[in-house]
């Protein structure tokens, strides 16, 4: 094995040779430079491979003596991994900086090499003073590179950096020399366990070393200089700082851990996690990309440090550090490197505006990088976070968990905002701006794509090593990748393929499902297939839609069959991620998708905490009210329960029409599924007992009332349907909260029928808005004559939804009221009456405004909706009719499922009559009577018609006048103005305001905090000094 000393030799030799070689021409020196970097990378890879194959360590003593006489180096698995990381980032960064490096004087390349060498030294050395030397080497090289291109900003940033670095090195030196004084050695291994470390002096000396290393890790709030450096640096250099330097520094910190007492470790842990939370909080206000990445980097490094310290404090062995800190670090390293390189390629200036939009591949890479950084599956940070939170909850570090959650949420917000700016172009304020052209970046895209690939591969590896070998688990990702590869195909073909893919998934997944799972599989996979088919309704390729759609549907499918909590949770997050991107693809999806994302991530974090708290495994977990409460809260966010619903209307409405339909009809049901499953796992007890369930019931009912009320005031058809869905899911929630046979039968029935008729309605509206080119209802009108099938579908949908007999909806109402009254929830029942009355209003208003009333001139020639939309509607229509005539078709399976959990009490069938303790309902007889009466009446009408004359739209009695424009004759705008006067005060968006206030608070706090970063190097230096002092105080207090 080549001794690592060769690295230093090679770097130093090349460093001296480069100016000579440069005399022969830049080509020669550049070749030398690249050859060295490549060789270094190759060597690092070789080390890594050999240590993976044969674990062990290689101790290297310079000069042939043993320590303490000489400087010792160590090369083991950990070191070689860190070296490989440094080498990889260095290669990518150098590639990104190739132009600058080739054009600048040769000293640029030299300095670059010195920086890399310094970082390698940091990784390898076991000598504290040597560590200092490498610290300074890498530091000086870093300062020099930062100020290399003579920009004033860069130079001042470098100067600030130096000031902070100077303070840190002074502290380090003082600490080291006293350690030497106390232990008599500089060798780390000999120092560990030395008696000299005991006592106050030892603790103080260690603290100085630690403080210096911490300062170098850029802790909040003493990191203004670092943020400036990130912002001013060339993006490649930024990647190097954020990736390689942070890795080396973290490794250095990790090295000294054995010296640290628990109090020291606690300081590291809290300093790290506070940095994570607050750096990301401040990042919220940031629009300049690199500065934002700077905040993110500082936060991420803090997070890794915190995880390391946490592991050192609470977990035996180094596996935890490997899995968690290593996972987080490698995740951060690759993701941030990729992002810095992306910003180099696309950022036009420091103000956050973009030169252009990336193509599909680079956009996908950007999505992967951001998602990875935020800790979404299947990337390494996701798995690391899962473990970290598990242990943190087990050790009752709840504040730690809360900070992890908060920091992740903030980071997700601004990183995804940046992603939106990148892939959609323009600034947030101008969503309607002209489409931004695609920018072909060529070779500059290689780095980000490689980073994305690497991170994805590592993520996949993490999953695989955790025992996820089930093909169904991989199906969502595989499906997504497959359709990404097929993205060039025409949209209609992809729609068919997607339908087939989802059907195939169903075919393989169904046999292993329980009845309960099958019921939901019908809604989710069946709905997924239907809507995949409907996805063919648009012309063109629909670039990017199908990969995300298939991934989302299949991850929902996997969520149904997942056997471990982790598997379920990963599917859940994947689904949220897919949903986010699908909403984002909508024309005006920006802000809607961001709000959706925030609630998804927040909810998912709560859910993760709950799952962990409850034991982490589906099946065999102990009943836990707290776990149920957390998981339930997360699920309520997904369900759009009242109070947590603010994301819902926008997300439902702004996604592509077919996905809106799937979102509302199918996707929302998975929360019902999960809630039912969670009840089975964690027991039914909530903190607060029965009263808490009553509150949940009321949350559902309030959602039903206020959702419906909000729906009637919408002018946008999709918003109306979205609020309607919120209301309908409110009923489901209330029914669920009853937790008895009647309640759950009701909940499942409502969920199933909502799937049927809401799908019809969404698709029908999709057709109408496709043909008319608008979603605003009062701009449509009179489409019945042009789109009769869509009309019938919508009509059946509204009759079913409103609960008017004889269609399926009435069954839902009947079950709901019977179960509510039987349960003794009388006022809930009364409020449901109000809600279902209000539902009439928006339903009528929608069908009137869209399909009836006055047709507009420009819609005189519209055609029926495309076959792709009509066929799914017809299928759903048939299902609705079938279930209406024979309610047992759907109620029998539901009652069987519920019966497995709750003993039959309340509902039972006698023949075709459903009997409860309060009454009875015979669906078949009802529909027969209604149909007979209807037919007889119809015959009477036809027989009595005298010379019927079909007239045109303006042949109306208009107070002896004539109408002049259809637009002014179609009464559709602000349809329920009196209702607004009477009850509009109930829906003035208080939840929105409350959440906006929360968000406003966060950004205000961020705004206040970031005043710390004055831009004055001296202030930053003061921060550093004070920070060290305060940390010391903390240590003393503890």
């Amino acid at each position: 094995m080549v001794t690592p000393l060769a690295i230093f030799a090679a770097f130093l030799a090349t460093g001296f040779l480069l100016p000579l070689a440069d005399k022969l021409g830049r080509r020669v020196s550049a070749t030398l430079f690249w050859a060295l970097l490549a060789g270094f990378a190759g060597l690092a890879a070789y080390y890594l491979a050999s240590f993976v194959a044969a674990p062990g360590t290689l101790e290297i003593y310079t000069g042939g003596f043993e320590p303490p006489l000489v400087i010792a180096l160590r090369l083991g698995l950990e070191e070689s991994a860190a070296l490989a990381a440094v080498a990889a980032v260095a290669l990518l960064a150098a590639f990104s900086m190739r132009k600058a490096l080739h054009e600048a004087p040769v000293s640029g390349m030299m300095t670059f090499l010195m920086l890399v060498m310094g970082l390698s030294g940091l990784v390898l050395t076991r000598d504290l003073f040597n560590l200092f030397v490498f610290l300074e080497i890498s530091g000086i090289a870093g300062y020099a590179l930062l100020g290399f291109d003579d920009r004033r900003l860069a130079m001042s940033a470098a100067f600030k950096y130096m000031v902070a670095g100077g303070i840190a090195s002074a502290a380090y030196l003082v600490g080291v020399i006293y350690l030497y004084r106390l232990t008599g050695t500089l060798n780390l291994d000999l120092m560990i366990g030395s008696a000299g470390l005991e006592g106050a002096a030892g603790a103080a000396a260690v603290f100085f070393v630690l403080a210096a290393l911490l300062v170098e890790l850029k802790p909040f709030p003493a990191n203004g200089w670092a943020i400036d450096a990130y912002e001013a640096a060339n993006p490649g250099l930024g990647a190097l700082f954020s990736g390689a330097q942070a890795t080396a520094m973290l490794f250095a910190l990790y090295k000294v851990f054995p010296l640290l007492s628990d109090a020291h470790l606690a300081v590291v842990m809290w300093a790290g996690i506070v940095t994570f939370a607050f750096s990301n909080l401040v990042g919220l206000r940031q629009t300049a990309t690199r500065r934002m990445f700077g905040y993110s980097s500082a936060g991420q490094v803090g997070f890794v440090a915190a995880a390391l310290a946490f592991g050192a404090r609470y977990v035996e062995g180094s596996d935890f550090a490997w899995l968690v800190a290593g996972g987080l670090l490698v995740n951060h390293l690759l993701a941030k490197t990729g992002l810095f390189l992306l910003s180099a390629a696309f950022e036009s200036d420091g103000d956050g505006s973009m030169k252009g939009r990336p193509g599909t591949l680079v956009a996908a890479a950007a999505g992967v990088l951001v998602a990875a950084l935020v800790g979404l599956p299947p990337f390494p940070a996701f798995w690391a976070k899962w473990d970290l939170v598990r242990v943190a909850l087990a050790t009752r570090e709840y504040a730690f968990v809360a900070l992890v959650g908060a920091g992740g949420l903030f980071e997700a917000w601004y990183l995804f905002s940046w992603l939106v700016r990148l892939v959609k172009g323009g600034a947030d304020e101008t969503p309607e701006a002209a489409p931004v052209p695609v920018l072909r970046v060529g070779a500059d895209g290689v780095g980000p794509v490689l980073a994305a690939l690497g991170i994805a591969a590592l993520g996949g590896l993490s999953a695989w090593t955790r025992g996820f070998t089930d093909p169904l688990f991989w199906a969502p990702l595989a499906g997504g990748l497959l359709f990404l590869a097929l993205d060039r195909l025409p949209g209609k073909l992809k729609a068919l393929l997607a339908t087939a893919a989802i059907a195939a998934f169903g075919y393989f997944a169904l046999p292993s499902m329980s009845e309960f799972q099958k019921l939901f599989a019908l809604m989710i996979l069946g709905g997924g297939a239907l809507h995949a088919f409907a996805g063919g309704y648009l012309t063109g390729r629909r670039a990017g839609h199908f990969p995300l759609y298939v991934m989302t549907v299949l991850s929902l499918g996997y969520a149904l069959v997942a056997e471990s909590a982790l598997g379920f949770f990963m599917a859940w997050e994947l689904m949220a991620l897919g949903g986010y991107f699908l909403v984002l693809q909508g024309a005006k999806g920006r802000s809607a998708s961001m709000i959706y994302l925030a609630f998804s991530i927040g909810g998912a974090f709560l859910m993760m905490a709950g799952l962990q708290l409850g034991g982490g495994l589906i099946g065999g977990a102990a009943p836990s009210p707290a776990a149920l409460a957390l998981v339930g809260l997360g699920l309520l966010a997904k369900l759009g329960a009242f109070g947590l619903h603010v994301w819902l209307p926008g997300a439902y409405a702004e996604a592509a029409d077919d996905f809106s339909s799937f979102f509302s009809a199918s996707l929302s049901k998975v929360a019902v599924f999960a809630l039912m499953a969670a009840l089975a796992v964690f027991g039914e007890a909530l903190p607060g007992g029965e009263l808490a369930w009553r509150v949940v019931g009321w949350v559902g009912i309030l959602g039903a009332v206020l959702g419906a009320l909000a729906a009637i005031f919408q002018e946008d058809a999709k918003y109306a349907l979205a609020f309607s869905s919120m209301g309908q899911m409110g009923y489901v929630l209330a029914a669920l909260a009853m937790r008895d046979q009647m309640g759950w039968t009701t909940a499942l029935y409502l969920a199933a029928t909502h799937f049927l008729y809401k799908g019809m309605m969404w698709l029908s509206v999709a057709g109408a808005s496709l043909r008319t080119g608008t979603r605003t209802m009062y701009l449509m009108g009179g489409l019945i004559k042009r789109m009769p099938i869509s009309f019938v579908s919508f009509l059946v949908g509204i009759i079913a939804l409103s609960g008017v007999p004889p269609l399926t909806g009435f069954g839902g109402k009947w079950l709901l009221y019977h179960s509510l009254i039987a349960k003794g929830w009388y006022f809930e029942a009364a409020a449901s009456f109000l809600a279902s009355g209000i539902a009439f209003l928006y339903l009528y208003r929608m069908i009137h405004s869209i399909f009836l009333g006055q047709p507009k001139d420009e819609h005189r020639t519209v055609k029926e909706a495309p076959f792709w939309l009509v066929l799914p509607q017809l299928l759903l229509l048939v299902a609705v009719i079938a279930f209406s005539v024979f309610p047992r078709l759907i109620l029998d399976p539901i009652m069987a499922v519920v019966g497995a959990r709750y003993p039959a009490a309340g509902f039972a069938f006698e023949g075709q009559t459903l009997v409860s303790s309060l009454g009875y309902w015979n669906g078949l007889l009802t529909i027969v009577v209604v149909v007979v009466v209807f037919v007889l009446t119809f015959i009477w009408m036809v027989m009595n018609l005298r010379k019927p004359r079909l007239v045109k739209q303006f042949n109306i009695v208009f107070a002896a006048e004539r109408p002049f424009r259809p637009e002014t004759t179609h009464f559709a705008f602000d349809f329920f103005a009196p209702y607004r006067r009477a009850l509009g005060f109930l829906v003035r968006g208080r939840s929105e305001k409350a959440w906006t206030a929360v968000a406003g608070l966060a950004t205000s706090v961020a705004g206040a905090i970031r005043r710390l970063y004055t831009g004055n190097g001296q202030t930053y230096a003061l921060h550093v000094v004070l920070y060290v002092g305060i940390l010391y105080l903390f240590l003393g207090v503890r």
């Binding site: 001139d857 010379k947 079909l950 007239v951 045109k952 042949n955 002896a960 006048e961």
Partner: protein, 230 residues
């Protein structure tokens, strides 16, 4: 602004009243020209040619005529000053409800159109429109001298002189103004005529559609509606 052109009306010298009840010309077109409408507005209005329904005969028709006479729904459209005399009919003193007469706010559901006195050209346009929107059989009661021969407005430049040139009239009630008692008497007369099967104004209107339309168009110059308002 001062380029006003004082032009004489495009007068038609033929003012003679054509004999009523004359069968219309054979081979009527199926579609109305609707010349008064711009091309882009024609699609908004039905352009079918009005056809006569009736008169019918037989026991059933007699029964229906009786029912029609007992259920007179007045279009609530006060076309002139005579409308003020209709109001007392609803009061307890005159109580037209006794006779099955009641006001109805929409022409679709009304069977009696009461022309309440003088009809200016501007009002005539609305009268024609509302009359055509009523469902047959429909009846017209014209009250006041103005509807008969112009009354005190006989020489006015914007009040028509004889309403039957524009729509068929079943009963005239003379007076300026006729008192509510006279109105009641008129309604009783209308009921008798209906029962006798003599009130076929709708049929007359359809059969002599061109004549009525020509008369109407002669006075209504800004004809911005279809030729027949369904």
């Amino acid at each position: 602004m001062s380029d006003i052109k004082f032009t004489r009306a495009l007068a038609d010298p033929d003012h003679a009243l054509k004999p009523a009840g004359r069968p219309g010309p054979l081979g009527k077109p199926l579609v109305l020209a609707n010349d008064g409408l711009p091309e882009e507005e024609k699609a908004w209005f039905c352009d079918a040619y009005p056809t006569a329904s009736g008169p019918y005969k037989g026991i059933l028709e007699n029964f229906l005529n009786w029912a029609r006479s007992k259920s007179l729904w007045i279009l609530g459209f006060g076309t002139g000053c005579g409308a003020i005399e209709l109001r007392p009919l609803m009061t307890s003193r005159f109580d037209m409800y006794r006779f099955g007469i009641q006001p109805r706010p929409t022409p679709r559901q009304s069977s009696v159109f009461v022309i309440g006195g003088y009809a200016s050209v501007k009002t005539l346009k609305r009268i024609v429109r509302s009359y055509e929107q009523m469902m047959g059989p429909k009846f017209v009661v014209a009250l006041g001298s103005c509807t008969i021969n112009g009354g005190m407005y006989w020489d006015s430049y914007n009040t028509i002189n004889a309403i039957e040139h524009y729509i068929p009239v079943d009963v005239y009630i003379a007076g300026c103004m006729p008192r509510p008692e006279a109105l009641l008497a008129g309604f009783k007369e209308l009921q008798r005529k209906i029962r006798r099967g003599e009130c076929e104004g709708a049929v007359k209107y359809a059969e002599n559609f061109e004549w009525y339309k020509a008369n109407q168009k002669k006075v209504i110059h800004d004809w911005n509606m279809p030729d027949y308002n369904y």
